[in-house]
């Protein structure tokens, strides 16, 4: 009998990917999808499965690697977070129309809330846009089942299929049977077939109508054969309120229904939001006088309903159009639909206590000893008036020490630096611009922007904050490192300096991120060079991320109470969790709960109150 283990939703998905005989699995990390690929590698290692597992430099690369594999007949899967799908969109929108060979699964993870994302977009909406069938699990166990079914649909109709998860499915923990076996993969044999493998207009004029036909076939299959994902509770009744529900909202609603013991609510659960099984939704609508739609985060099912005159949802504001549908909110919405007020214990005393004690949620911050903190301190100190476009990574947390003036999406630090430069050039002003991005982001989308800036003669400084890891998402490898997901598989590490030079940059230097003096000197020289030569100059700030736990020299520090004037300079401009400010005494002290003795803060205090402790 298979053993049950407490698995993360993403680990359950990974087990199912290997068990389904997936031959090529690719990804670019992004919360909440990041654990899937390493878990695929771990399961494949454990079962000795031949699955090839690789990080792509970005999501477009990852998806296209999987598409290529599918064209040869191999079963393939690409994994990304919702905004990663934007990067892969060019491939995604077009491959949707292809008649594939090997099963092709795209896993895209959404983040209603958001908890760890720069927006709240809905991958199901994207699937609908691209006309790609999508499955939407309500928990980890179901997510694993849906992986197998998605591969089956993909191979039956030769169509790209999407599994959409959300944070609460990806990062839920459940008791799940571990996979012990895996299916054999397909025969790999590339056959030339221009009617299938190219995207010329003449071919699309044929493939698009054919794709529409197969989508209708899949829709009717969802209407008749997929009762395990699309079903009513209780079956075929009519209640005061009908609720159409998908994703994790369904699990939440089931818990609430058990708690309420009501018989005036009936549920239609939809697990295949696109193509929507119209016959099922229309029959449910016809039977009810009032229907509520609960889904996250966008109204995908709701928008596809033929007639919304009886429907409450996002279109009329009954369901909020932003944020997560937490249990308390679902309880309030559903009960108010049937005219019942949700009972809530009186928490006013607690509220007052929290207010009086000044308790607020702790913001995420750079770790104690983080090399990025030092790099930003150096940049600010050397060029205090520079505009600082930054990027997506741990370093975006440097907003806490005013190190970041803007961020948008991966790679936009470099390209927006160009924009800042151009706008000032056009008006004849001179303003230093220092962009920052991490090693993973450099390889992901930094390179095209840099090439463009060299070509167009844009003067700014680009700092690559190389901490030898993709940190924000939990510590994955990237093309600057040799690590690969499967055991005993090694990649070739690309030296960032060489890549930068290859892009045509003529000023490139590497500095130690902890070395504030050399760093400041380098920044000043880099900006002078950029300004004089009308070209981007690049500095690489190097020091390993604290997550890597690379042993480093311990330099303890202490604060001289007599010298500390309580100006908060170190707190506001450096902001290490290892330094704490006593509001009543107006003094800083080292908080040894957090300090890792990196020694960097010793240069920060204008009064020289922070000292290294002699050993």
């Amino acid at each position: 009998m298979p053993v049950k283990a407490m698995l993360l939703g993403n680990e359950a998905i990974a087990g199912a990917v290997v068990a389904s005989g997936c031959q090529v699995a690719t990804a670019y990390p992004g919360t909440p999808s990041s654990e899937i690929l390493p878990a695929i590698a771990a399961v494949a290692d454990r079962l000795n499965a031949p699955t090839v597992v690789e990080w792509g430099a970005n999501e477009k690369v990852a998806l296209e690697m999987a598409i290529g594999a599918s064209f040869t007949g191999a079963r393939a899967c690409a994994v990304m977070k919702q905004v990663g799908l934007n990067v892969a969109a060019d491939a995604f929108m077009t491959v949707a129309l292809y008649r594939l060979k090997g099963g092709l699964l795209l896993i895209s993870s959404d983040d209603p809330g958001p908890h760890s994302s720069q927006n709240e977009q809905d991958s199901r909406m994207f699937a609908m846009f691209a006309k790609v069938p999508v499955l939407d699990p309500s928990d980890a166990v179901e997510a694993a089942l849906m992986v197998k079914d998605a591969f089956a649909i993909s191979e039956k109709y030769s169509v790209l299929t999407m599994l959409r998860t959300t944070t609460r499915v990806a990062h839920c923990r459940q008791d799940i049977e571990q996979v012990e076996t895996f299916e054999k993969g397909n025969e790999v044999k590339f056959e030339r077939d221009l009617s299938r493998w190219v995207s010329l207009p003449a071919i699309v004029r044929v493939s698009h109508p054919l794709h529409n036909e197969r989508i209708e076939k899949i829709r009717s299959e969802f209407e008749t054969e997929w009762g395990k994902y699309n079903y009513e509770i209780p079956s075929k009744t009519k209640a005061k309120l009908g609720v159409i529900v998908s994703g994790v909202c369904f699990s939440t609603l089931k818990d609430l229904m058990k708690q309420w013991c009501r018989d005036d609510i009936s549920i239609l659960r939809i697990g295949t939001p696109y193509p929507l099984p119209h016959k099922i939704t229309e029959s449910f609508l016809a039977r009810h006088d009032k229907v509520l739609v609960l889904e996250e985060p966008y109204p995908v099912i709701e928008t596809q309903l033929m007639n919304r005159s009886k429907v409450d949802g996002r279109w009329n504001g009954v369901v909020p159009s932003a944020g997560e549908l937490l249990p308390e909110l679902i309880e309030k919405i559903v009960l108010s639909e049937i005219g019942v007020e949700a009972k809530k214990p009186d928490a006013s005393e607690l509220k007052s206590a929290i207010e009086e004690l000044g308790l607020t949620a702790r913001k995420p911050q750079l770790c104690a000893g983080c090399p990025h903190r030092s790099s930003f301190f150096i940049i600010k100190k050397a060029l205090p008036n520079a505009i600082s476009p930054s990027d997506i990574g741990c370093y975006s947390l440097a907003i806490n020490q005013k190190g970041v003036d803007s961020s948008l999406c991966m790679g936009a630090s470099v390209t927006m630096a160009s924009g800042y430069y151009l706008a000032h050039k056009e008006t004849g002003q001179e303003r230093a611009v220092v962009a920052t991005l991490g090693d993973s982001t450099f390889f992901h989308m930094g390179v095209p922007g840099l090439i463009s800036a060299v070509y167009n003669r844009h003067a700014f400084v680009l700092c690559v904050l190389d901490n030898s890891i993709t940190a924000m998402t939990g510590g994955q490898s990237n093309p600057g490192l040799t690590g690969k997901p499967r055991k005993d598989d090694l990649g070739v590490a690309l030296p960032i300096e060489s890549v930068v030079r290859g892009c045509g940059v003529t000023f490139v230097e590497t500095v130690k991120a902890y070395d504030t003096a050399s760093g400041m000197d380098a920044i000043k020289r880099a900006w002078e060079y950029a300004k004089t030569n009308k070209t981007p100059s690049v500095l690489i700030f190097k020091h390993p991320c604290m997550l890597l736990r690379v042993p480093q020299e311990k330099i303890s520090v202490t604060v001289d109470n007599d010298k500390c004037v309580g100006c908060r300079y170190c707190i506001d401009n450096f902001g290490c969790p290892g330094l704490s400010f006593d509001e009543s005494a107006k003094k800083v002290s080292v908080d040894k709960r957090y300090c890792v003795s990196c020694g960097v803060c010793a240069v920060v205090c204008p009064q020289k109150a922070i000292h290294k402790v002699a050993k």
């Binding site: 923990r173 005393e349 607690l350």
Partner: protein, 196 residues
């Protein structure tokens, strides 16, 4: 109906709060291991990603007949707090008569009148332990042991789901072998802290 109540009595909902980097995920792994060994179903929700960088983190964990991973406000049997500020901020998760197990470093906060009244009105059982102090004294200030210490305290308080022998067994299985001795030592300190 009788059956349902019997089932219900086994159901437990936990909220575990702290600050990213304190190792709170390990606590739910231990809880999960124990429940699975007993053959009980589990579902919970963890925080990964940005908040792990030193922000407020919260784990929801439910043992028994549940579907959704999140605990509703006012329904937790236990709130376990690695950090007292985070604990107080999230206290509304606790049901009436629930247990609040909290690592304290500033006793004054608990003297707040509103807080005292809320705790009394809701009949909350508050169990405080001075985690940092204990680790300073016995573990050379290695605060990474806080998660094991809190497990010990939970076991010492006989909170359902944290049976002493089962936690010890789970620790042996889940923690790196080289830390076993220290972990068992800290676990013992936790048990003692709870009874103190």
């Amino acid at each position: 109906m009788a059956n349902e109540t019997a089932n219900k009595s086994k159901d437990m909902q936990y909220i575990i709060v702290g600050v990213g980097g304190q190792g709170i995920l390990f606590t739910s792994r231990v809880l999960g291991k124990i429940a699975i060994d007993k053959g009980l179903p589990i579902v919970g929700s963890e925080v990964h990603g940005m908040a792990q960088r030193g922000g407020s983190v919260i784990s929801h964990f439910k043992v028994g007949s549940f579907f959704g991973p999140l605990v509703s406000d006012g329904h937790a049997d236990v709130v376990m707090a690695f950090d007292q500020k985070e604990g107080i901020r999230n206290l509304s998760f606790l049901k009436e008569g629930g247990t609040f197990l909290v690592n304290t470093n500033c006793a004054a906060m608990f003297e707040n009148d509103h807080l005292k009244k809320y705790i009394a009105d809701r009949k909350i059982r508050v169990c405080k332990f001075k985690g940092f102090h204990i680790l300073d004294e016995h573990m050379e200030g290695n605060y990474l042991f806080l998660n094991v210490l809190i497990l010990g305290a939970a076991a010492g308080l006989k909170i359902p789901g944290f049976e002493e022998d089962r936690v010890a067994a789970a620790l042996k299985e889940l923690a790196p072998p080289k830390h076993i001795d220290s972990n068992l030592k800290v676990f013992g300190l936790g048990i003692k802290a709870a009874s103190a």
